[in-house]
């Protein structure tokens, strides 16, 4: 496959949202697949913006390393089972609202199991909104990956909304190295009920994870035990730059982790805690 196999002089056709869909020109080795829950049909080829798939599953079934899956700005899909993304596949949402938040939505209605698994190396997930779950689930909505895999994954510009049904993490890292999480927000959006579990859980001895310009916002209720970012294992060279802890959201780190944390802003009683997990 050649890097100039597919050329998009005017870009992928997005007007707002991630720069991947608003910038141009692009040349790539892989195929661009479009998904629209409003206008799509899984019998389409999915390779034209005007003939998109209707579901992420249809695109995921054909995508291989180097391919890009573009979710329309009004994409809105509810999942009842896991989706797994393999090596080098990019999922990117078009569209952003007046606050700059993504508009392409992936909602999970499952009582157990991980929602979206980034299982391969160099996967990307960009500019997608993850609303609170439809039912309680103690697993993560997005996980990189399962006991390893997922090295060099990028999660960029995503928003995780958290309420009482989020009895598991919004995003969980499970043994993957050199994962980057950039420009993401983890926000408690409910005002009543139990506080949700942490937005981001770093769970299994990763190396070289970078978290850049991310925000944890406790809102009115706060996260469970106050912790929006939880590091439960000994990370090596964890780099957290531009961290914002708003409305009392805490970040808790394992005492065995190494690296750095650079704070951009804190409001309320947000804390940095260093302690071994219970």
């Amino acid at each position: 496959m050649a890097l100039n196999t597919y050329n998009f002089p005017n870009g992928f056709g997005g007007l707002t949202g991630d720069e991947l869909v608003t910038s141009s020109p692009w040349s790539l080795s892989g195929v661009v697949y479009y998904v629209s829950t409003v206008d799509g049909d899984d019998t389409n080829a999915g390779t034209e913006q005007l003939q998109p798939f209707a579901t992420l599953a249809a695109a995921d079934a054909v995508a291989v390393a180097g391919d890009v899956i573009v979710l329309a700005d009004d994409y809105d899909e509810t999942f009842t089972s896991n989706t797994t993304i393999g090596n080098g596949i990019t999922i990117v949402g078009a569209g952003s609202d007046s606050s700059g938040n993504p508009t392409a939505k992936m909602t999970y209605n499952m009582s157990s199991g991980v929602g979206l698994t980034l299982s391969g190396s160099e996967c990307e997930l960009r500019n997608v909104l993850f609303p609170t779950r439809s039912q309680a689930n103690a697993e993560a909505r997005v996980q990189v990956a399962v006991d390893g895999g997922g090295d060099r994954a990028l999660i960029k510009g995503c928003r995780f909304e958290c309420t009482a049904t989020d009895t598991g993490a919004g995003l969980k890292l499970d043994g993957s190295s050199d994962v980057r999480i950039e420009d993401c927000s983890f926000v408690v959006t409910s005002t009543t009920g139990d506080p949700p579990e942490e937005g981001l859980l770093i769970d299994s001895g990763e190396s070289g994870v970078r978290i850049v310009d991310c925000t944890f916002d406790g809102g009115t209720l706060g996260f469970a035990d106050g912790v929006g970012l939880q590091d439960t294992s000994s990370e090596t060279l964890l780099s957290i730059d531009g961290l914002s802890l708003l409305n009392g959201a805490d970040a808790q780190f394992h005492t065995g982790s190494t690296g750095r944390i650079s704070m951009a802003s804190t409001t309320g009683s947000g804390r940095i805690k260093f302690q071994a997990p219970p």
Partner: protein, 276 residues
């Protein structure tokens, strides 16, 4: 060792430059070594700006994985031989002028790099690299060493490279899977250039997962050597990402078409992407 071994409540203490030196509080498992080429002394401990060391050699010798070597905004040192940045060490400059770095590192040697990122996850932030003092075909910054030490997952961010006739490449990417080069500016400031005076030279074959993002190349009146801003010909990059690359005035991008990934280059004038 844990990430609250060093707590800088007010940040690293600088008012401009890389956010790493401006934001705060800053928590580190390592230590910040301060360098001041004007008022520092290598016999000092380097643990505060008031007791800064003077030379890069002293700072990089003291630093180990997780440590930061912070250069004062008016730091200006001319090296005569390459210095190694060890695995996990962060070299970062304070200070900006018109949004570009002011801390300066240059090389005055006939055949040597200025800096070699000589281990995994090394970082360089916000440093200005002027034109070589004498003709020197070696890349100013070498990410890894070809057929030698790798430097996987390294980061070069927010640096300014000034290009002239004495220069080889500005960054040579040697043996370095997962390298990130971000937010850097490459400007031809000389009135002439050599054929090898290019921006980024990807020298190894089959590098996987390299990311080149938010880079600006401007050849100004004479262009880069052979009009090459990036030479990744013959490199067979795997899952590479070139995003938001701007090329002006004789700044071509040469890419080996045999590879996987994607490329977004905005050209001004006749600058172009050549799949060769």
């Amino acid at each position: 060792m844990t990430m609250n071994d060093s707590v800088y409540e007010g940040g690293a203490g600088f008012s401009a430059g890389s956010p790493l030196l401006v934001d705060g509080p800053l928590y580190m498992s390592g230590t910040i070594y301060y360098l001041d080429s004007v008022n520092g002394s290598d016999s000092a401990n380097g643990l505060s700006f008031q007791t800064a060391k003077q030379t890069l050699s002293a700072g990089l010798t003291a630093a180990s994985s997780g440590d930061m070597v912070a250069l004062a905004a008016d730091f200006d040192e001319t090296l005569t031989a390459a210095l190694n940045i060890a695995a996990g060490v962060i070299l970062v400059g304070a200070g900006t002028s018109a949004g570009l770095p002011t801390a300066i590192i240059r090389i005055n040697a006939s055949s040597d790099h200025a800096l070699i990122m000589n281990g995994d996850r090394a970082e360089i932030h916000n440093i200005k690299f002027p034109v070589n003092v004498q003709a020197n075909t070696q890349g100013k910054v070498s990410v890894g060493v070809l057929a030698g030490n790798s430097s996987a997952e390294s980061l070069v961010k927010g640096c300014l490279f000034e290009v002239g006739a004495n220069d080889g490449s500005q960054i040579s990417v040697e043996d370095a899977d997962g390298t990130h080069i971000e937010d850097c500016t490459f400007n031809v400031t000389g009135t002439t250039v050599g054929t090898g005076s290019i921006g980024i030279d990807v020298r190894d074959v089959g590098i996987v997962g390299a990311v080149f993002r938010n880079l600006s190349f401007d050849g100004f009146s004479v262009g880069f050597g052979n009009a090459e801003a990036i030479d990744a010909s013959g490199s067979s990059l795997g899952r590479c990402r070139f995003e938001n690359i701007t090329v002006k005035n004789g700044s071509n991008i040469l890419i080996d078409p045999v590879g996987t990934g994607r490329i977004n280059v905005n050209g001004v004038g006749s600058s172009r992407v050549i799949f060769a």
